[in-house]
Each structure stands twice: as structure tokens, then as C-alpha cells.
Symmetry: C2
Subunit: 199 residues, 2 copies
């Protein structure tokens, strides 16, 4: 069976990553989201192993010490990260695993797994991103302005990803990501073995 | 305007390159074939500038000497090659140029133009290629056997191309090539400038 691939996806808050990825994954059982681990306490409605793997600090630190995290970071006194084993188990079953993570975590994964596909989702323009951030209606202007500033900084990292997708419309952006996955499956380094097997 | 890309396509005789490429190019004015130059004499029905640029030996040798050939080779006492200027003119107009060439020429272009997209079209299996070679009905068995042997040698070079497409069906192979072109247009190194232009 053909191994799955790690698919790193990043993009600024408000760009619509979730909606685009949901469209890409629709009716495609060969794609699944990675589940992160965290040391923060579980919240009402969250399910262990679905929203996060909820683990305690000593266990998380042991995973780091044993080099078993694909990437990790600390926010507000808690650890967040991606355990590598669960990802590898899925890949071995031919399932590609989407890691929707921020830039610093993405760079960690790229260094560790050069075979990962990396995609940055960018807004058509910062004016449009500002509209989308304000359009939620629940964001105070000063928070939206701050988010936009962070978004501009994040977009400077787009060139560190193999691919940059402009999310002009959900269907067009999803079609581009599907094209990337098809093209990556055609890469000679992943195809050559199969050809020889068929000889 | 976005520059076009050079698209190198190779594959063994009988694999169906022409049919697949015709399907890819259908209704897509942003793709055109490169026209080769040759020193061989024009044949009835051939049109200069369409089938080949028919030029004389001193002119061809001057193009080589001036480093104006993307690739070239000598067969049976005649030169064949791809003049770079015509390709560059098309690229500058946003047209991507398909070079359907054999492996040695392809390797020359890859070295000279690392920005070129390279695609190898392979048969689903050598049994199937043998069927296709024999299926033409006009090929003596010993010629077909020789072609198959050459095809096996050529397929060993597939890994030197970025992408390997299996031509199982024309529509599937064409869809994969279209996906590659879409994905390549999403590469961050070709997208980054546009993003900044829109700021």
C-alpha cells in the first residue's frame, strides 16, 4: 500500500483554513486531521482523542524527552504538540494526515520531515482579510487591527512553504489543494518504486 | 502578467504522449508546443515554423556557438534542437511551452532551466506497452521487441523527472498533468511576488 503523506497547512486567523480543509476532505477517507496533544484541562463538550489528547505535564515532557513529538510549543503555561506515533500509524495505513498548525510548529515539522507537503493559505488581499475579520461581527476593532497586523507578519513566512494557496473562493482554493495532492502523488520519488514493482 | 513555464515531457515510444498532451491542451490557449529546429530537408506536407524550423547547418551551428539552443542533438547527420528565443518569447506572453523531447534533450533542458517542470509518461506496465506497440499492426515483431527494450531503458530515467505519470487512461493521465500544472502555479516561489504586489 502507498504511504500517506503529512500535509502541513498554515495561514492567518480569518483566512478560512477550516472551511477550505473541510471542503478538501469531503468524501475523501484517505485524508484525516491530526489530533494534537495538550496539557491544558479538558473543557465541556471536548472529547479526549478527538479534539485533543489530554495528557499531563510529566507525560508530555517525557514525549519531548524521547523525541516523540513532531512539533510542540508552550502557550500560557500549557504544552501543545503533535505526537508523531499517531501520525505515523495513519500514514502506514495509506492515510494522509493534515496538520493545521501555526508557522513555528510548521517549520519544526518541515525540518523533521522533509517529505511533508507544506501549504500556506493566504487571503486574496489584506483588505479582504480585514473585511473577513471584521465581518464576524464579534470582534472589537482594536482586536481586529491587531489580528491583521499578526496576519501580515505570518504571510511573510508563506515562501517557507512549498505552496501558497490564495483563498479567493472556497471551491477554487479546495480545488487547488486537491490538485497539489494529485501532483504530489505523481512525484517520481514516490512513484518509481511502484513502476518497478509492476515490471 | 504571470510568466509561462517550460514543461518537459518524455516517455517511451508507444506510451501515448501525443494523445495525452492533445487532451491536456484542448481548449487551453495558455499552452503550446515548442517548435524544434532541424537541418534535415523539408518533406512534402511539412510547414516551416509549424512542424520544424528548417534551417541550414551553418545557421544551426551558429545558434549552438552562441548558446542559443535549449538542447540539441545530432541524428543521422542532421541536427535537431530547440531554439531558446522562441520559447522565451512565448513564456513572456504568459504561455507555457511543452517540449516533447527524448531523455538526453530533457536532461539538457533541466540543467539549463531548473525552473522547468519535467514529466515522464510511463506505461501502466511493460506488458501493456508491448500490447500497444504490437496493437498498431504495422510493426514487425522484431522491431516491436527492440522498441520495448529501448522503452525499458528509457523508463529507468523516470526518476530524473520531477513527475511520473502513468498513462492508464488518456483522461486520467491528462487530469494528472493538469493537476501538476495547477499545483506548480501554486508554488510559493512563483506566487510570493503576486501576493506582495496586491498589498
Amino acid at each position: 500500500m502507498k504511504q500517506g503523506r503529512i500535509i502541513i497547512v498554515s495561514g492567518p486567523s480569518g483566512v478560512g483554513k477550516g472551511t477550505v480543509l473541510k471542503e478538501v476532505m469531503k468524501d475523501d477517507p484517505s485524508l484525516q486531521f491530526s489530533v494534537s496533544a495538550t496539557t491544558r484541562t479538558i473543557r465541556p463538550g471536548e472529547i479526549d482523542g478527538v479534539h485533543y489528547y489530554f495528557i499531563d505535564k510529566p507525560r508530555f515532557e517525557a514525549l519531548i524527552a524521547n523525541n516523540e513529538m513532531l512539533e510542540h510549543a508552550e502557550y500560557a503555561g500549557n504544552y501543545y504538540g503533535t505526537p508523531e506515533k499517531a501520525v505515523n500509524d495513519a500514514l502506514a495505513q495509506g492515510i494522509s494526515v493534515i496538520l493545521e498548525i501555526e508557522v513555528q510548529g510548521a517549520l519544526q515539522v518541515m525540518r523533521r520531515r522533509p517529505d511533508a507537503i507544506s501549504i500556506f493559505i493566504a487571503p486574496p488581499s489584506f483588505e479582504e482579510l480585514a473585511r473577513r475579520l471584521n465581518g464576524r461581527g464579534d470582534t472589537p476593532p482594536e482586536v481586529a487591527a491587531k489580528r491583521l497586523q499578526i496576519a501580515e507578519q505570518e504571510c511573510r513566512n508563506a515562501t517557507k512553504y512549498q505552496y501558497t494557496i490564495i483563498n479567493d473562493t472556497v471551491s477554487a482554493a479546495a480545488a487547488r489543494i486537491r490538485a497539489i495532492l494529485t501532483a504530489e502523488a505523481c512525484r517520481s520519488e514516490y512513484n518509481a518504486i511502484q513502476l518497478e514493482e509492476e515490471e
